[in-house]
Symmetry: C2
Amino acid sequence: MTNNRSSQIWSTISSREVYKNPWIRVREDRIVHPNGKEGIYGVVEVPLGVYVIAINERSELLLIKQSHYPTGLDSWGLPAGAIKPGKTFQEQALEELQEEAGYFAQELIRIGMAQAQPGITSQIDHFFIAKQLHRKQLPNETDLRLEEGITEVGFFSFEDVDKMVSNGLITHGQTLSGLYLYQSWKNKSAF
Amino acid sequence: MTNNRSSQIWSTISSREVYKNPWIRVREDRIVHPNGKEGIYGVVEVPLGVYVIAINERSELLLIKQSHYPTGLDSWGLPAGAIKPGKTFQEQALEELQEEAGYFAQELIRIGMAQAQPGITSQIDHFFIAKQLHRKQLPNETDLRLEEGITEVGFFSFEDVDKMVSNGLITHGQTLSGLYLYQSWKNKSAF
């Protein structure tokens, strides 16, 4: 996948940090647009992320219900998180699956990546199918989940997942991206 | 679609603006997590957005190729943009379709919404199918597009679109979300 690299048509004149917390860093760059016009660009830097498409032996998809503070909306979605320093994508995928949903997976398959909001943030997420699931409970898991706004965990048939999309119960963008990547991967694998 | 509203389990103690430019506003809130723990939350505020799934009389999808400064990656994707003050979603969808791709649509159908990156930004995007397309050229359209990093515009069969996803030519998350919402809407409309 070398064909999605930047054509390097933007250029940076200077860059200054305007805000930082443990999760994001915001910088304002002075830039030259690809048409030669000078301007500023506010960029939100975040670590790479992983999303987990965990499927049980009945071909049901694991989803978590999360209340999102920045939008004020709830949505069912895939377990996900930022890659911690020193962790591989696979290790982080397993960690999120356990922390957010209470499962371990014996098999992980990387199926693609997606930019969450590339006009504003540096976010690039990698998507993994997780199979051969086993319940793996942490002693304080309910509290840890609630801290992130996660209130429910459940398995749903793909028919139900599609109904949840139609009914507005799944409005989490990267979850919809993951569902498309999974369908596309599955159709390809069928041949 | 009242069922995706927030369960209001987060609460805000105080809020301060830490950065602002004409496109984004960043604030740091002092909050109480749903489990009662106090902390801070950096939120990136952006206007609502629209995405346009424009389909021609040969059932081909209109895509633009854009170089994204924050990620350093190129991707083919749907025309999109932020709602300007005083504009309706429909007016903004038509404006983005013309400015980013050079087309006017006589028919717009709203098919859903998605949160781009709800752990960090307030971004909520509304998706429209656009039909009955007519070329509508602006005198300086190539320069305007290049200013936003848009280098190409094209129509592709959905078979080709799926290959572009598999080959990593489409890595734009909300474009993948839009493709899933479109498929889901089309399957439902078939019955």
